[in-house]
Amino acid sequence: MPNSTTAGGFLLVLAIVLPVVGVLLSLALGGRHAERVALILMPAGLAVAVAIAAGVWRTDNVLQYFVGGWDPPLGVAFRADGLSAAMILTAALLICGIGLFARTQFPSPQEVETRAPLVFWTLLLAVWGALNAVFIGGDLFNLYVALELLTFAAVPLVCLDGRPETLAAALRYLLFALLGSILYLLGAVLLYGAYGTLDIVLLSGRIHPAPVAWVAISLMTTGLLAKAALYPFHLWLPPAHAGAPAPASAILSGLVVKAPFFLVVRLWFDVMPRMPERAAAQVLGILGAAAILFGSVVALRQMRLKLLIAYSTVAQIGYLFLMFPLAVRPETGNPWSTVAWTGGVLQAISHAFAKAAMFMAAGLIAEALGHDRISGLAGIGRALPITVFAFGLGGLSLMGLPPSGGFVAKAMLLTAAVAAGQWWWAVVVLTGGLLAGGYVFLVLARALSDSSEPLTLLSTISPSRQAVVVVLALCAVLLGFVPLRPLELLQIGRPATVVVGFR
């Protein structure tokens, strides 16, 4: 680990500053220019993300930046390891795709200034900046601020159309998020009180098993679970994600819930690599398993397409937390730890692409039909074949069928579960896959059946928007073709003690 700002460290600053500049410019220039500002900044942000990933890959080490030249513990560090680089790249690709998709839905107002486009484009950039801040934050308090920024940017996206039920959903989301953030902050102050630093690297050297550390980590993990909507904290997610406009749902389901998950990974594997107890990790695994089974079964029973996809998010978040019982404490003889860890992270990335594509496909279908009742989907497969194809591709990844990113991720979790002798997680992964197959098939079967009366579409859907959705769904599938070598990117910068038998 380098102990000063590395070459290329300024890229990390750019990753936060570019979106923030965009937010300020949009506010100053007004709704007529917000879209243009966002569209100009997207390629620039994507280039920065690619440069960060390339920098981490080339130097085989973390990129680091000390703000103001002050070293931790007094200063604040930004660090990008392989995991951060992968998440930053995922976020940049998705935000660009979602931005292209949203152009027709939130066009720049010509005559009278309207609020929705300004709010959408500004918040899109704000979410992007906050996500990058979460991914590169090296200081637990700084991460708290980044998480809060993310929440404040994400909550208004839920109620963009101002309907009462979306307002209620946004308020419920905010209340859960506030509980989560205050618990996280309580844990952070306890850690500072006990160890005198909030810097992740310094803390990982000082922390040792003691009651205060346990209490702090439990509080922080619980808070993050509330924000990540892991069962039983999932209550806010389905109405919020299903009620938002399609591009906003794609951001919320694809990216925003991944940020608290990312922080749980940071806490458990970077802040205290030697500490986690098997028993505590089993609890996370059990909650994950409950989320998979509950979310999938409830998804099967939904009448509306967007709610079905939202409950599927509840289930897929469960998979993320299966990595904890399989990946903690590698030094006590768990050689498959790294495989499970990589599987969990890959699940987060492939789910981001797949779910964003599915929400946007559902949005296009709802736009064409004027509703999103699953029972009324007959004939849409003939009217919007590309969109339904993209939905199916996304579903492929959720089910974990080859070839897709979801397949590789779930295969890794399965392998680790069987190899570690914890076969019960394998049963959950397989059952969840079957149930996912059930609800994806339910939709596709309806969509591909012929309708009795000719279908009247409310609006024609431009091929370019359908193309964006297909490209994002293809990204989720292509992740399955990525050979294992690039996955080494994820291991860069991880503590050497926890990376076993992979490189």
Binding site: L174, L185, L186
Partner: protein, 102 residues
């Protein structure tokens, strides 16, 4: 009992009260107030930590005080956003409750 212990206990009581009412009361406004109560407890804990750091011979640890200011701003912004949403919900529907919560 030293002042640090007293303040530490006060902060624990505030956090406990806040958590209790956050979980028990279904009304969103109560929940927002409860969140602020927990926040008060956490910020008091920051003060306790700063004071304890002073046992190292310094007049006080300045880092937690800097953190508290940021934390206050964030909590204030969060409260403002929550109240704004609640007001809008009241204007639209005439009630300030979340149905399935009640």
């Amino acid at each position: 009992m030293s002042s640090v212990t007293v303040y530490g206990l006060c902060s624990a009581v505030l956090v406990g009260l806040g958590l209790f009412s956050l979980i028990v009361h279904p009304q969103p406004l109560r929940k927002i107030l409860a969140f602020n109560l927990i926040g008060g407890g956490v910020f008091l804990l920051f003060g306790v930590v700063a004071r304890r750091g002073a046992e190292g011979g310094f007049g006080g640890d300045p880092v937690p005080q800097a953190l508290v200011i940021t934390g206050l701003v964030v909590a204030f912004a969060a409260t403002a956003l929550a109240v704004a949403l609640l007001l809008r919900l009241f204007q639209e529907t005439g009630r300030a409750t979340l149905r399935s919560d009640g």
